[in-house]
């Protein structure tokens, strides 16, 4: 009888393509990743963008300066207010307007609230991505309080369009102080619970620790910013480097973790929420009362030149780069979005990880797809 032997070299294993997205629960929107897979291991990642590309930069070339602001709401919709603020600051910088102190305070407080809301949503979705479904609802409960604050003052929950060149749209609602002061102790009391529920969990720790390492050099080379860069030990907080609005009035520290893995990025965001609360707490009682609008012309024309304003959104370093030729429309507007550069890092750190890890890494990089596509 013939002896049949199985030679493992004859067994063919084949790499295959896995199309992750545009409709996939883990891509949080319409991001498409073309994964080259070997079994469950991801060998290569190629992002394919543009499913929600609205060409905001091109649209801006046909809009007046005041009208740009409402488009930036729709970029990174989770830090809508900070985006608005960035454009407003860029225009103010170009026009050399000094805005009232009250406006600065309001913008900073609103910006920090937005950051907390964004991080809360991220935390909820982070839990979902690693399979803990309950985190989502807990985070949403707390985020709802911020949304209510926003709705009461700005008239909208998410796309606020609150900042205008030279000021803000409305004055603070009379309930604003009360609600913010209710919110601060509430969040302080629930964040330890969140740590107990998710951060301390042995499964979560094992899923996060040492996964998706981004070294200090790579973090810089990939142009990452925000919590992603700070998780790799890069000092990159624009709020510290170049305080804008009323951030120089508050005393806070930059959250830095040096590990560069998923857990570091996770902890940066968790700690940042508390730090943002600190900022709000310091500013909320000292809001001066000197008007909410600097004098601006009805039709804003920027002087000829180039203006760059960088702010720290919840996702990182947003750069608004306006090239003006002196007309009422900008000649060119570039939004350097943090998500776009952070996505670049995923291409490298996602390689040679299991598909479940890639999902977790994507989650800690915290993508908002409209921010990447613009």
């Amino acid at each position: 009888m013939e002896q049949v032997t199985l030679n493992t070299a004859d067994l063919k294993s084949q790499e295959y393509f896995l199309n992750m997205g545009p409709q996939h629960p883990a891509t949080h929107g319409v991001l498409r990743l073309i994964l080259t897979m070997d079994g469950e291991v991801v060998k290569n990642i190629e992002p394919d963008l543009g499913y929600i590309h609205r060409s905001i930069e091109k649209q801006c070339e046909y809009e007046g300066y005041k009208q740009i602001i409402h488009l930036t709401d729709r970029m990174d919709y989770l830090s809508a207010h900070i985006n608005n603020e960035a454009v407003a600051l860029a225009i103010e910088q170009a026009l050399e307007i000094e805005v009232p102190e009250r406006v600065k305070y309001i913008r900073t407080i609103m910006g920090e609230l937005t950051r907390i809301a964004s991080h809360l949503l991220w935390w909820g979705v982070m839990g979902m991505d690693v399979g803990a479904l309950t985190t989502f609802m807990y985070a949403f409960r707390d985020r709802e309080m911020i949304n209510d604050i926003m709705e009461e003052t700005c008239g909208a929950r998410l796309t606020m369009s609150y900042s205008t060149p030279g000021g803000v749209m409305f004055d603070l609602h009379p309930n604003f102080h009360k609600r913010v002061k209710e919110f601060i102790p509430h969040l302080r009391s629930v964040i330890p619970k969140y740590h107990e529920l998710l951060s301390g969990n042995v499964i979560f720790q094992k899923r996060m620790k040492g996964v998706g390492k981004l070294s200090y050099e790579d973090a810089i080379s990939h142009g990452t910013s925000g919590p992603v860069a700070r998780g790799s030990g890069v000092h990159s907080d624009r709020r510290i480097i170049q305080p804008y609005s009323a951030l120089d009035k508050a005393d806070f520290k930059e959250i830095i973790y040096n590990e560069g893995d998923n857990l570091a990025r996770y902890m940066v965001r968790m700690d940042e929420m508390l730090e943002s609360l600190n900022i709000i707490e310091q500013l909320i009682d000292n809001i001066p009362d000197d008007g909410i609008q600097a004098k601006t012309k009805a039709l804003i024309k920027l002087p000829k030149g180039e203006f760059l304003q960088r702010v720290e959104t919840a996702r990182g370093d947003l750069g608004v780069y306006i090239v003006s030729d002196g007309k009422k429309n900008p000649y060119r507007v570039k939004f350097r979005s943090p998500g776009f550069s952070n996505l670049n890092a995923l291409i490298q750190i996602g390689k040679n990880h299991l598909i479940a890890d890639v999902v977790a890494i994507m989650s800690t990089l915290d993508f908002v797809v409209p921010d990447i596509d613009r």
Binding site: H70, A156, K193
Partner: protein, 159 residues
């Protein structure tokens, strides 16, 4: 020993997590303590008074509005949401031809609620309504005419 320590430590963290969810579950099921659901059609939705639902034009009891047809809102609008059809009508008292709106058309489907039109309006003719029941089966229903049929400009607004 760290092997057993790992196991026990792990189980402890799992139980801590269960304590948190359980701490929400039992008060919720017994006293509905932490329930955050608002059962919307039964309980009214909380809408803040500044909520930007849709743009409306204010009319008084005599079916008069404050819109002079200056088109400031139309110019201020970033995406062509507002169109004003106007005409010059002879004012019988003064004998001058006066701009008068025929239709103030508002495409709710295109509106991004940016507030620029309301900020631009010199006569406070348009304002926000907090109505949010805007869904329809037909997009054309979202195109609204803001001035009521037969309405006139309120006296004294021109000055």
């Amino acid at each position: 020993m760290s092997y057993i320590g790992n196991i026990l430590g792990g189980i402890k963290t799992l139980l801590t997590g269960m304590k948190v969810t359980g701490g929400y579950f039992f008060p919720s099921i017994i006293g509905r303590k932490y329930i955050i659901t608002r059962q919307y059609p039964d309980e009214p939705a909380i809408v803040m008074d500044r909520f930007k639902g849709e743009v409306v034009m204010w009319h008084n009891d005599n079916n008069e509005h404050r819109c002079t047809g200056c088109q400031a809102c139309e110019i201020a609008c970033p995406n062509g949401t507002i169109e004003i059809i106007w005409d010059r009508v002879l004012n019988e008292e003064t004998g001058k031809k006066v701009k008068q709106i025929d239709k103030h058309i508002y495409h709710l489907g295109m509106c991004t609620m940016c507030n620029l039109c309301i900020q631009a309006c010199p006569t406070n003719a348009i304002m926000w309504s907090t109505n949010f029941h805007n869904s329809t089966y037909d997009r054309s229903k979202l195109t609204k005419v803001l001035n009521r049929p037969g309405s006139k400009l309120m006296a004294g607004v021109e000055e």
